[in-house]
């Protein structure tokens, strides 16, 4: 079994500093529960903090003449500036896929907006997103192909799914969340998708 680190544990490997790894007097410490893979510290759970460039999925919940407010499944309110849409309009209730352009104290400005229609939105722990996507999007493509669905994965933990077998892809994603920390994940998901 891989070694599990908990907050306060010294990490002797040369991993990169992040929200999950802090440095104190030349030593690295885990701040959350996780494990080391190669040169990275992989948190098992981590609260989402947006970074410029993140692609997220959000839900428009309010509109003012010049700005739309977007739920981002986090403590940050998403803002879409109306003039950035160049004449296009959003409605309350629209699900959007967007890029984080700017991070402020308690809000994020969103751009490159794409409206997503007729799909299911599910919420997953943001720390599991890398596993759901997989190396070179391998896991995500596996699910999409097997279930004939379109899936948008937001770094914020909202996942949007539409297409033929939405139920099955939800099941696969839930299985990834439950087993993300175990080995043999890809094979197991493959088997699950091939069954029935």
């Amino acid at each position: 079994m891989k070694r599990i680190y908990i907050p306060g544990d010294v990490i002797d490997e040369p991993v990169a500093k992040s929200l999950a790894v802090r440095e104190d007097k030349g030593k690295l410490y885990a701040t959350v529960v996780g494990t080391v893979e190669g040169k990275s510290f992989i948190p098992f759970e981590l609260a989402y903090i947006p970074v410029v460039g993140d692609a997220i999925v959000g839900i428009v919940y309010d509109k003012k003449p010049s700005v739309y407010f977007v739920d981002t499944n986090s403590s940050y309110t998403g803002l879409v500036i109306a003039r950035d849409l160049r004449g296009a309009e959003l409605d309350v209730g629209d699900v959007i896929f967007a890029k984080v352009k700017k991070v402020e104290e308690d809000s994020i400005v969103l751009g490159d907006i794409k409206i997503l229609q007729n799909g299911k939105i599910m919420s997953v722990p943001s720390s599991k997103i890398p596993r759901i996507i997989g190396k070179g999007a391998s896991m995500l493509n596996l699910i999409k192909d097997a279930t004939k669905t379109v899936i948008y994965v937001g770094a914020n933990g909202y996942v949007w799914i539409a297409g033929k077998d939405v139920g099955k892809s939800v099941k696969a994603i839930n299985a990834i969340i439950e087993k993300a920390h175990l080995s043999g994940l890809t094979d197991e998901i493959k088997q699950m998708l091939e069954s029935d």
């Binding site: 839900i59 919940y61 407010f69 309350v92 007729n118 299911k120």
Partner: protein, 265 residues
């Protein structure tokens, strides 16, 4: 419109798109409950306790017995008092604070199912002049994934069924000594079925998303062949034929739910 109601509308549209195809999002049949399970006596300090799960919803019921004064108009009958707390750790939708209309309605609906099932014979709870047994049944919602009511009625019935009766000496409880179980008519123990109406479809045991998308809901408490309590909730409405149909579905679930209760002892 609040942020939450917008989000729930988005989910409702998705649920509706399934209902048009006569399907539920999680693949269940319209009259299919999630799996139910009961753990008995998780809190031995209570005279009776049980934790029931329905899918991922979990409710803990605990019963404390005290010797109390009877109500003046029913001097020979015991007293049943129920309260509920929607623990904020159970859901982001629960806020800490004093009981609100949702938690009070919840406690009262479960209370009525228990009371009118007559599983508990109040006359048998008489101790002596001015003294009767008070049954304090409290419900704690531990994890909320839709349909608190049916999980709570299961927990309440299982807690009642396994409730010890402390020895009574000089009109007082000696809690360290038992004198058997609280007198219960087991065949009368109630179970319940909650239905959700969404776009004209009626679904048994709504999950969280279905509950939030509901136009109206109905909870039926029942025993074998008798409805003992009903509560319609939500702003929408039902037709008479729908109500009667729900009674049929509920009755067809009686034996299955009772089996879950039987295993719990």
């Amino acid at each position: 419109m609040s942020k939450y109601s917008v989000i729930s509308n988005v989910r409702k549209e998705f649920i509706s798109s399934f209902l048009k195809k006569k399907e539920r999002v999680d693949g269940r049949a319209f009259d299919e409950m999630r799996s139910a399970d009961i753990q008995v006596n998780p809190v031995p300090h209570a005279e009776g306790s049980a934790i029931a799960s329905l899918g991922k919803t979990q409710v803990l019921a605990g019963i404390k017995l005290d010797i109390v004064e009877p109500f003046p108009d029913e001097p020979t009958k015991g007293v049943l008092i129920s309260n509920a707390e929607l623990l904020p750790l159970a859901s982001k939708y629960f806020e800490p604070g004093p009981p609100n209309e949702v938690s009070i309605e919840f406690a009262r609906v479960v209370d009525r199912a228990v009371r009118h099932s007559e599983a508990l014979d109040m006359e048998k709870l008489f101790v002596e002049d001015e003294k009767v047994i008070g049954v304090f049944m409290d419900l704690y919602v531990v994890d909320y994934d839709g349909n608190l009511f049916d999980a709570a009625v299961l927990a309440a019935s299982a807690a009642l069924k396994n409730c010890r009766l402390p020895k009574i000496e000089d009109g007082k409880f000696v809690r360290t000594e038992s004198s058997g179980n609280l007198p219960i008519e087991e065949k009368n123990l109630p179970v319940s079925c909650t239905f959700s109406k969404i776009d004209g479809s009626i679904l048994l045991d709504p999950g969280m998303d279905e509950e939030m998308a509901s136009d109206a809901m109905m909870t039926l408490g029942f025993t074998d062949g008798h409805v003992v309590s009903m509560q319609k909730r939500g702003t929408g409405s039902f037709k008479k034929s729908e109500v009667l149909n729900m009674v049929d579905i509920a009755f067809s679930k009686h034996d299955g739910l009772k089996k879950v209760l039987e295993v719990s002892s």
